[in-house]
Symmetry: C2
Subunit: 222 residues, 2 copies
């Protein structure tokens, strides 16, 4: 499978690239608005994996080039760039490509971190409304700790929730997620359930802030 990670130069894009690079044989393409930055980061990830004797297929390209022939496109960009990023790549998507959105709208104040969805109701819905109608949209990876994901020495042992309206796209992303060691993929039903899934992300940051022994938190359902 070919996976494009747009915004794959940082945050959870880096961790997903390194984990899929280590744990699977999928072809990975790092996307960025800046193709040089994409190529540089792809080289960094290959080098990180080579130190572990993993020969991963990771390229770097400008976003609209990165999605060409990709089976799965992960939009690991900040929420305020999500709609523009979808617009920028929509015409280049392969037939059947699945768009995956992990972004969450968060604000912070003196009390903690708060869920601030866009007017559509959730970032996941915003992607659904922005994407071409025939492109399946899946919400996933909202609640992953970015630094821990990118640290290949760190154990995950956490869950991630997958939202989808189409069964085939859901299954593909559930399977692709479960291929990462230590990550359990659970269905959270249709995209309409996105607000509660997205709202968990600011809560994780708040809980880490108020409990000194906890940092870079994930969650497990048990």
């Amino acid at each position: 499978m070919r996976i494009a990670l747009l915004g794959g130069t940082g945050d959870i894009g880096e961790g997903l690239a390194l984990r899929w690079g280590r744990d699977t044989d999928h072809e990975l393409v790092i996307g960025s608005r800046d193709p040089d930055r994409a190529a540089e980061r792809a080289g960094d990830y290959r080098a990180t994996l080579a130190e572990r004797d993993v020969d991963a297929t990771i390229e770097g390209r400008e976003n609209s080039a990165a999605v060409v022939n990709a089976d799965v496109v992960v939009l690991s960009v900040p929420p305020y760039y999500v709609a523009d990023t979808v617009d920028a790549v929509a015409d280049s998507l392969a037939a059947g490509a699945i768009l995956v959105t992990p972004a969450v709208g968060i604000s912070s104040d003196e009390d903690g971190f708060h869920y601030r969805p866009p007017d559509t109701g959730s970032v996941t819905d915003l992607v659904r409304e922005t994407a071409p109608p025939d492109v399946p949209v899946v919400g996933a990876f909202h609640n992953l700790p970015a630094a821990r994901l990118a640290d290949l020495d760190a154990d995950l042992d956490i869950d991630t929730l997958v939202l989808a309206d189409e069964g085939s796209a859901r299954s593909t992303i559930l399977e692709l997620t479960a291929e990462i060691a230590g990550l359990r993929a659970l269905s959270a039903g249709p995209l309409a359930n996105a607000p509660e899934v997205e709202a968990l992300t600011p809560l994780l940051i708040t809980v880490a802030r108020y409990n000194d022994e906890l940092a870079d938190l994930g969650v497990t359902f048990q």
Copy 2:
């Protein structure tokens, strides 16, 4: 410590009564609008604990009688009864009594379970606005699986989040919670963070619905 569990005849009230009854020496008072029902359930809980050779102090009383001399009052009633329940007992609260609110506003539809807070922003805020100004309010126990909590053979190994604006009330409830075996109490900061804490409850029910191997879910932050 004397703990009144209003609405303690069902849902998480039952589980908290049984767990505190088994794991601590606190005096427990089951509150209900119907004093006979309260007394009957208190007797049931004592009997359940007696089968395990636990001699627990559990009485049953009408709500406003139940809170007299209680150090902690848990409002384990449905969200639409919370304000009326606070009004009904406000004049009977002991000086320094802490009000604890676990209620969450939830709606369900064909997709899943959704967070539907009252106009105040959260049920926790509704309690804060309804309670006398000098009574400390703490949010806790929102995300506990009721049936598992009430099954003393079931291991918990889950977390619960505690919201409070006053440090002393927070500490009291964190300690009281951690006295239940298998339950880790984490601070989630001030009451202003209640929406994200409350929104986790419908998500837990949704996740259980869409994953056959999971039921009566709690959560751990790790």
